[in-house]
Amino acid sequence: MPVIALVGNPNTGKTTLFNALTGLSQKVANYAGVTVEKKEGTCHDQHGKLMRVLDLPGTYSLSARTPDEVIPRDVLLGRRADTAKPDCVICVVDASNLERNLYLAVQVLDLGIPAIVVLNMMDVAEARGLKLSAAALQERLGVPVIPMQANTRQGMERLRVAMSQAELPLAKPGVHPLALREALAKARERLDGEGTTHGSLTLTGTASLLCSLGPDGSDAVADIEAARELMDHDCPGWEEKLVSSHYKRIGELVRDATEQQAAGGPTATDKLDRALLHPILGWVILGGLMTGLFATIFSVAAVPMDWIDAGFGWTADWVKTWMAEGDLRDLLTDGVLAGVGSVVIFLPQILLLFFFIGLLEDTGYMARVAFIMDRLMGLVGLNGRAFIPLLSSYACAIPGIMATRTIANPRERLITILVAPLASCSARLPVYVMMIGVLLPGGTGDVWMKVAFMLGLYALGTVGMFLFAWLFHRRLRSGSGSAMILELPPYRVPALRAVLLRLWERARVFVTQAGTVILVISVLLWAATSYPKPADGDDTDRLTQSIAGQLGKTIEPLIEPLGYDWKMGIGLIASFAAREVFVSTMSILYRADDPADDEGTRPLQTLLREQKRADGSPLFNGKTCLSMLVFYVFAMQCMATLAITRRETNSWKWPLFQFGYLTVTAYLAALLVYQGAGLLGY
């Protein structure tokens, strides 16, 4: 089956075109060894022949620096084992920003692959008074140039006809200065090692391979470095000469293709930016939008969350009525259903967040948020693009971590992922509410104290987040090249279809990737809290004698300095599945041996306050409660986040490091609080 690759700058409507071509036939996987999405689908040409369509990650140039940029370069040069070299490329070019988009296009056209140029967003160009001649461009380039509006599918038929041509032409190659050509030819010889296809590269292909020392997994790194040195020697300043040579050609192309210049005067984007990036109004709008967004997430998500909760409860009851009592039934209800349910319950929040993040990305406002926040984020070595992922993490770290893909710099992206779990997510709320309730027993006067405590916990997490970001920024070695260049694309009305498709894709990843890990760990945790079984007895006996109960007792010496007993130790272990499990575990452990209450209706907080230590003093005294709260602010008690970090960093090293540093921090902070309070005489 012939393979057609779509290439283009980000924000050119490339993905809209891909969706229009492939519809629901598309599949998203990862390129081997990197966390770059590989989007593939199929489509039929005019004659009904099936072809594979590959949507390559958007990039501005073939000189690659980030993994996202290395993929299109390597696929087009035929350097990837997992992806066949395309038989044809469709270069998607934004007509309203021709000069800059043509930079990538001329590089690609010079690779010696048959090509079609799609002049997308003709409507946007025309609205600005810009008239382009596709025919003139086609004449100059020597390949079909098709004017198009991918969002309304205008031009699709012409594109399909072009794609159906048996013999697509090669573009007329650009001509570089002689000295550059000679040097590149020599460098290509140097590159043509055994087992590579580098010898068949065109001069521009050779140049794009040499232009950067981006991440390159191949064995050719030494050869590339040697060829670069050769270039430096033979043709000093070759990179500048190459860029200038491309731009010289682009200048001629633009001049010949332009029939009428764009009218001057502010565009709609200019007018919008005057308000949205205004020194004062900009903050008001950003603050208002984010407040509205979170208010919507928490209020709207509450409804389906109740349904899911009820649904899982109902299913568990149903299983209990229809299955005979026994281990298998317990495994299903208490292991699988309870474990998966405790994570699926956050799906509405996660989906809403993904939806809003998708809208922010596709309208172009995301780049503005980065622009406004860059200075603040820069203080701790992060980039403005880290703001939305970190903010999202206050609802749930999972969509936050998945949203870090927009951060181009791998180091800044990694730092953002590592600190995201320090944002107090909504799963911590039940723990916070319960422990604050134990700490401050009711009374109207306490309401403001409770609010102050709650805010303090969020502030503590936030301070920790920035502190660790700054520490990692200082410690992690920086790669070459650190300049931040952020494009502020024109505002667009987002295509709902594209937003929903991506939402579906992200949800699928969450359910399959996190889901499998969650299922396994839920079952393991269930087993740990159920076995070995006591001969007879209630829930408490079961828990105390179980592996988890024994573990709780084993770690008691370790957690005693924090002010916890072994029952709390069980809670800590069980809540590794998900933080809010701590509340239900505490409930099981302390409720069952409550002599005053057979009904199980007394508030858990009251019950916990009545627990006594061996010496008769209250178990949940102020310093224990504080120590527990501080522990939950820092601890990474969430296996779903670990699973997502593993996926996004493509290694076990970083999730383990994340778990380690957060757990150690949580332990030390809780120790400091408990022992410090003790020293102060509390």
């Binding site: 000069e99 200038s244 731009y247 990036l277 300049a483 502020l488």
Partner: protein, 82 residues
């Protein structure tokens, strides 16, 4: 003020000029050139971010944000004042 050489970071909002030299690190320099900062290219400062950094510039029809520390390494011959 015509024809004076100024770092891009020091330009007034609204001022325009022609790029003269680019002194960033090698990889950054290539990247900056590729997005259109070539000697002779016209660049205009659109605005500063609300906190003063980064700055938004227009070059080759595109709007880009650069940190002032990076913009300081690009010198511009001013042709139009703010």
């Amino acid at each position: 003020m015509d024809n004076t050489l100024t770092p891009l970071s020091g330009m007034q909002v609204g001022a325009a000029g022609a790029v003269e030299t680019i002194d960033l690190m090698r990889d950054d320099s290539l990247r900056v050139r590729e997005i259109g900062f070539l000697p002779g290219a016209m660049v205009r400062v659109i605005r500063r971010a609300p906190l003063g950094d980064p700055i938004e510039v227009e070059i080759g029809g595109a709007h880009l944000a650069l940190r002032r520390a990076d913009a300081a390494l690009i010198s511009v011959r001013i042709t139009a004042d703010a």
